[in-house]
Amino acid sequence: MATVRGCYIPEDLYYDVERQTWLRREPDGTATVGLTAYACLLAGRFVACSPQRPGKTIRKDKACATVESGKWVGPARSPIGGQVVAVNEALARNPGLINDDPYGDGWLVRLQPTDWAADSVGLVTGDEALREFEVRMEADGFQGL
């Protein structure tokens, strides 16, 4: 189990470290997207989450959901373009799931990728992801848990 400065970073996922989102390719070709444990830590406990509606096509870097913690509101920016095929309905009732299980029950949306080959350039995984998180945390002045 890999951690960077105390934050859990599963090595089998793809990451957009700048936007603090993760992505997992599913066997059916879709991609599940969520927020990283580091993003959750910086934001604090989420109190609301409004995902894009199923059927909507979003471009890479556009919001796939909007989240609120305390009184902060911000977008979760999609690491790839695609059509929303499912949203995590459980978050409407319990947005704190994002904090409790960011890589599991706290997933945000599932996308049918528009152009995986093009959009996945720049996503990182494995050791490379861990190194990028370390750089990002250093730049942020994050001391660790």
Binding site: K71, W72, V73, F142
Partner: protein, 360 residues
């Protein structure tokens, strides 16, 4: 030589105009087309709900319509507010690197700390109260909220120069006035203004200068008056078309019935605790709580601290929050225990139990 940031003063406008301007400034900053900016402005009378709030749950729409009060939804989070010409809005558009640390709570504390410092310079004993308020002796003087967009932070707050509490009670769907009649502490006691604290609020220009100086000091920058760029003006016009519409204002549509308000009187050997709660039933959240009664606690402000800590939290987190606030060193509950408050709150939150539902 410190960095120079832009100072904007866009004056007095309606809510749609102002919120569309927020959208335009945020977009330009995020695109790297705008400098870090301090922006002052004011609203003509309006009810503004938080980004994730439902107008039907928060606002008396009939009253607003009858009295020409605009209803809008803002970009930042938090609760509904009534705003009019008596409040000054301050907001900062910053690159994250301007502020120490990446934690959003730390960002709020830094910015609110600067506002409190400016207000102390104006002669009031203002302090930052977590999570997001600036208060004087337990009474809110400036509420705040923020937006994070990539490397851009927007943090904004309303500073109460004057405040029309009567109007607020008619505009917002809060049962507080009923609570006051039943012996609950009045909402007037939760909020204050510079006019109330100083007799007369300082001139607007004096307040703005004090805030700008405190922000400049905290951020290590200087502010120079500036204008909107052509790109920002164009984006403002585009954003106004989106935001000045029912689709934007009512994008979150939840029925008022999902947000009941209930109260209970809880008697314990050392005193009587009155609790009013506003709930979000589908999400099992406590939206807000009001506490009063014939008990005495020291310091007195601890009740206001507890109410602030109980805003928009999961119902099952309530006992831990009560314990954290009331169990602090230096808090004397005069014979009551934190558990007495927890039980009172849990009784008030219980549906179909012994709590009284408030109709209004």
């Amino acid at each position: 030589m410190p960095d120079t940031c832009r100072l904007l003063d866009s004056g007095l406008h309606g809510a749609a105009h102002n919120i569309a301007l927020d959208r335009a400034l945020l977009a330009a900053h995020r695109a790297g087309q705008a400098p870090d900016t301090l922006h002052f402005f004011r609203f003509t009378p309006c009810a503004v709900v938080g980004y994730h709030q439902s107008v039907a749950q928060e606002v008396h729409t009939d009253y607003c319509r009858a009295h020409g009060i605009e209803i809008q939804r803002r970009l930042s989070g938090g609760g509904a507010v009534y705003i009019d010409e008596g409040q000054l809005v301050w907001e900062l558009y910053l690159r994250r690197a301007r502020l120490p640390g990446a934690d959003m709570r730390a960002v709020a504390a830094t910015v609110c700390g600067a506002v409190a410092e400016a207000l102390r310079g104006l002669g009031v004993d203002a302090r930052f109260r977590p999570r997001n308020d600036i208060e004087v002796d337990g009474r809110k003087l400036s509420g705040t909220g923020g937006v994070f967009e990539g490397d851009t932070i927007l943090y904004q707050g309303t500073l109460l120069l004057r405040f029309d509490a009567e109007r607020m009670l008619r505009v917002l769907r809060i049962p507080a006035e009923k609570h006051a009649r039943r012996g609950f502490g009045s909402p007037r006691e939760r909020v204050t203004s510079l006019a109330e604290l100083l007799g007369e609020p300082p001139p607007l220009a004096t307040v703005q200068a004090a805030l700008a100086a405190a922000f400049a000091d905290t951020l290590g920058v200087r502010f120079a008056p500036g204008r909107l760029s052509a790109a920002e003006r164009a984006e403002h016009a585009r954003a106004l078309r989106e935001i000045d519409s029912p689709e934007w204002v009512r994008a979150v549509d939840r029925p008022a019935g999902e947000a009941p308000q209930q109260e209970v009187i809880h008697r314990c050997p050392a005193g009587l605790i009155r609790v009013g709660v506003a709930l979000d039933l589908p999400r099992l959240r406590l939206r807000q709580a009001w506490l009063s009664g014939d008990f005495f606690v020291r310091p007195r402000r601890v009740v206001a601290d507890l109410e602030a800590a109980l805003r928009n939290v999961a119902m099952d987190e309530v006992p831990a929050i009560v314990q954290a606030v009331l169990g602090r060193d230096g808090v004397d509950l005069m014979g009551l225990r934190p558990a007495d408050f927890s039980v009172a709150l849990q009784r008030a939150m219980a549906v179909g139990n012994d709590a009284t539902e408030l109709k209004y």
